[in-house]
Amino acid sequence: MCGATRGGPSLDGVDVENQAVIQGVVTRDGVPVSTAYVRLLDRTGEFTAEVPVSATGQFRFFAGTGEWTLRTLAPRSATVDRPVVATIGSVADVEIDLDKVAVGA
């Protein structure tokens, strides 16, 4: 999407000091996608939360300090798992590029 902000959504108004923010953008061939679901799995692989991406492919979680996995599901794409480390007071900003080989293609 032309003009879309790269990376996660704006942090204006977010109390970053007391949060462990994990956020980012889901892309296909470098272009943000508007339909995808991002799941946050804890250190044991257990589902913790899930959000649909915004129209510009962005997502955000408020996690705790520790190791997490982002699992992304999108139409015509293989599921993508990405490990991420979160820390209170910091922002982990990730770009998730969907598998370029479409499922069933």
Binding site: V14, D15, N18, Q19, S34, T35, Y37, R39, L40, D42, T44, E46, F47, T48, A49, E50, V51, P52, A55, R60, F61, F62, A63, G64, R71, L73, A74, P75, R76, T79
Partner: protein
């Protein structure tokens, strides 16, 4: 109740898109999701603005609900098919609430909006126009809703199921991880409650796992089919999903949703609280 009576799949919905007695209703955590496209003919229900009283910390009254459903063009005899994102989380909440208020013909679209989107099925921006009805709600069914005193009395007696994430259960998080960790209440869980995160009942695509897998899931957490059960989470929505699984899909009798959930229990004086990964003692 059984899976066959509580769930429909996407093919069934597509076959009934033009059935005047079937009303599709989308309910999402993010109420704006409907505005970005929805299943043709679906009306929108906003869990936050449509179902809350607005003054009391409670649901809309019978009169308010009748007005709402009448304006949406939903009749008493219509089959309401609810769907939404995130494994039908908030759609299950609306299902429980409408069931609590006596609507008889209710279904959930298995997989909800997510599976519909992942299957690349059609969505539209067109907002349907339905003629207003005169909806009559029944008196609330207290058999499926638990209040705080009953929950305290259930400690060590009934199946208590905490369906939040393990980190919320143990007290390491106060809210789901996609929400800011701000809350007035203390962390922890109700003593003796087992922890079965609500999402374990669903596959990655949002559809419900099969009956045998579901029975095993709860049995592993110590669920006793011979006892009544109460499910809770933070604000009663995720536990609606688990209530749906236990009561509507598996057909277990005497299952209640404690919609006050941890935001209420964790703010009470004079009640026991457990911390950590174990259920704790009564």
């Amino acid at each position: 109740m059984s899976r066959e009576n509580a769930l429909v799949n996407a093919d069934w919905v597509e076959e009934h898109l033009d059935d005047p007695n079937v009303v599709l209703v989308e309910v999402d955590e993010d109420a704006e999701a409907y505005d970005k496209g929805h299943i043709r003919g679906a009306v929108k229900l906003d869990w936050n603005t449509d179902l809350k009283d607005g003054v009391r910390h409670d649901f809309v009254s019978k009169d308010q609900l009748e007005k709402l459903l009448s304006e949406k063009g939903i009749g008493n005899d219509d089959t309401i098919v609810l769907y939404g994102g995130n494994n039908n989380w908030f759609a299950a909440y609306a299902y429980w609430f409408l069931s609590y208020n006596g609507h008889e013909n209710l279904r959930l679209l298995d997989g909800g909006r997510k599976k519909w989107e992942l299957d690349s099925r059609e969505l539209t921006d067109d907002v349907p126009s339905r003629d207003a009805t005169t909806y009559t709600a029944k008196e609330p069914n207290s058999d499926i809703r638990a209040f705080r005193d009953e929950v305290v009395e259930a400690i060590g007696v009934k199946n208590l199921i905490d369906v939040r994430s393990p980190d919320e259960y143990a007290g390491r998080l106060l809210a789901p991880a996609h929400l800011p960790q701000e809350a007035a209440q203390i962390p922890g869980h109700i003593p003796t409650a087992g922890n079965v995160p609500w999402s374990k009942a669903a596959n990655d695509d949002g559809t419900f796992r099969d009956d045998d897998e579901l029975r095993e899931l709860y049995a592993e957490a110590g669920y006793d089919e011979g006892k009544d059960a109460i499910a809770y989470c933070r604000i009663g929505e995720r536990s609606s999903h688990t209530w749906f699984v236990l009561h509507e899909v598996l057909g277990y009798p005497n299952v209640k949703n404690y919609d006050g959930s941890w935001t209420e229990y964790g703010s009470l004086r004079g009640v026991p609280v457990a911390l950590g990964d174990q259920p704790g003692e009564a």
